[in-house]
């Protein structure tokens, strides 16, 4: 394999996995903006997305597109239910309490998933076959293009939602200043519910997309969630465009790192990149220092 085709190959792998980190990172950002907390159950949404999709399409034989839709709705409902049962009932909780609750949520989700799906690893068929396309000597799976396309749709859809619709603007207003938002009649608790549902949906989409390539099992969520968190923090917490760029960057670093150094260091690379950036630029790539001072966490 020539040098060039190897680089293209690594780049593609990196962008694919990076897109997944980007989606998970955006999920973190969305909940962080609405509530100021880091939702450690974010990775479990990815796992649930993958596994529910497996059950629907492989066991219940529902066609892929419909299964995709139903899975996203299911995980959204799970996210909303989690918010209503675990976050909503608390009166004036501290940010730390909430974060610990999300950790508990993640452990429960993992346990329930183990009971439902067992410990084996599941796979999904690729969306449109797995004959690789040869570009510049590199073999690129059609799934890569699917994932990139879906990431673009998600980013574009979300930017339309947040910039054009009343509900999206209301969510942004809540993120900036919840008290002022409630003074113009916006129900802040409802916006928090919505942010959990949306970010669960994002996680589900990421899970469905990645299962054909990386497989899925009950405890995959934590690591994917951690990488997504790296993306969110690297991009400057609360900055969803930043999370996308940072997610792609982490994916690319990881893929080049495991290609040129050793694949044993694959998971360490994301954390090293995160540590390096946070040491040199604690507000992340796109966050501003002034904004950082206002954050609770």
């Amino acid at each position: 394999m020539s040098e060039l085709s190897q680089i293209v190959q690594f780049l593609c792998t990196g962008v694919t996995i990076g897109s997944i980190y980007a989606m998970v990172g955006m999920g973190f950002t969305m909940i962080y903006n609405a509530t100021g907390i880091i939702n450690f159950a974010q990775g479990e949404f990815v796992m649930l997305g993958g596994l529910i999709m497996v059950s629907l399409t492989s066991s219940a034989h529902i066609p892929m597109p419909l299964g995709f839709f139903i899975t996203v709705i299911c995980v959204m409902l799970i996210g909303a239910l989690f918010e209503r049962c675990a976050i909503y009932p608390l009166k004036k909780p501290s940010v730390l309490t909430l974060i610990i609750i999300t950790l508990a949520g993640s452990i429960i989700a993992k346990g329930v998933a183990m009971l439902v799906w067992g410990k084996q690893t599941y796979s999904l068929p690729h969306f449109s076959g797995d004959t690789p396309l040869i570009i510049a000597g590199a073999a690129i799976l059609p799934q890569t293009l699917w994932i990139l396309g879906i990431l673009c749709c998600v980013v574009y859809g979300l930017s339309l939602f947040f910039n054009r619709t009343m509900l999206g603007k209301a969510m942004r207003a809540c993120a900036v200043n919840p008290i002022a938002a409630s003074l113009i009649g916006i129900n802040v608790r409802y916006m928090v519910l919505l942010s959990f549902a949306l970010s669960a949906a994002l996680g589900a989409v990421a899970g469905i997309c990645i299962t054909p390539m990386l497989l899925m099992e009950f405890d995959r969520g934590a690591l994917l969630g951690l990488k997504g968190f790296c993306a969110a923090a690297l991009g400057g917490l609360g900055h969803s465009g930043g999370a996308v760029v940072a997610g792609l960057l982490i994916g690319i670093f990881e893929s080049f790192g495991s290609g040129y150094l050793s694949s044993a260091y694959k998971d360490a690379i994301a954390l090293i990149v995160l540590l390096a950036v946070l040491l040199l630029r604690p507000s992340g790539l796109f966050g501003s220092v002034e904004q950082n001072k206002l954050k609770d966490f």
Partner: protein
């Protein structure tokens, strides 16, 4: 129209409002004046549900709204222009006006809201020039106008205004008070005004209350308060007393 009866409010253990009772009639401009930290802002925050009262009741047109959350109170027709303006810096001026009509969005539809936005832009021509700018880039006076316009977009029957003159140039202050009086005359908006600038407030208001250390010390028509010696000495700076007294 709006009536507070024996309201007590606490911040943690601190007893901030002590048996506050006041009322505002329809179409009236009522001013709350008093020194820094007297509890004026807390009175407004208690009415709109941000710091709910521990005891006492707030009646609004016959309904008890004491324990309602802030967004429900806006639905009832009470809008607050919060202290320090509290705009959303990363949203544009137009976004703010649209969000101000958030509670009417489903019921009134886009056209009615577009008409109201147009009315706000006529009322505050400066906002028209800036309509596509981010609110964080506006000057203090423009932000204040935006905060008032945003509150008006919900078509409130009662407008609670917190320190509209704070940090503004005297000419802008005059502008804002003229606007408040016009709103009352043209749309019969009821206004409860909190102001440290007692002179400007009493010139514009029909009635007033003097608030000191969480209690209502004095009430009367604006005329009476303007002529009251204590008010003149403490808040209008007219009569100087020798320092040794």
């Amino acid at each position: 129209m709006l009536r507070l009866q024996n309201i007590n409010t606490y911040y943690g253990d601190i007893h901030v409002l002590k048996n506050v009772s006041l009322h505002v009639a329809e179409g009236e401009i009522v001013a709350l004046i008093g020194a820094n930290g007297a509890g004026k802002t807390t009175i407004l925050n208690t009415i709109c549900g941000i710091t709910p009262a521990a005891s006492g009741s707030i009646l609004y047109g016959g309904d008890d709204i004491t324990q309602l959350p802030p967004d429900r109170i806006v639905h009832k027709g009470i809008a607050q222009v919060p202290e320090g303006r509290q705009i959303f810096p990363p949203l544009t001026v137009i976004d703010h006006l649209q969000l101000g009509a958030y509670i009417r969005y489903r019921t009134d539809g886009k056209d009615a809201i577009a008409q109201d936005i147009e009315r706000m832009l006529i009322l505050f021509p400066r906002l028209r020039e800036r309509q596509h700018q981010y609110a964080g880039t506006l000057s203090g006076g423009e932000q204040q106008m935006l905060a008032i316009a945003r509150a008006l977009m919900s078509r409130p029957r009662v407008l609670l205004l917190d320190e509209p003159s704070m940090g503004l140039a005297p000419l802008v202050v005059q502008d804002i008070f003229t606007t408040i009086a016009r709103l009352r005359d043209e749309q019969r908006t009821t206004v409860l005004l909190v102001e440290q600038n007692a002179k400007a407030a009493l010139n514009c208001a029909d009635r007033g209350y003097v608030v000191e250390t969480g209690k209502i010390m004095l009430e009367g028509t604006a005329q009476e308060l303007r002529e009251n010696h204590e008010v003149q000495r403490a808040y209008l700076g007219r009569q100087k007393r020798p320092i040794w007294e």
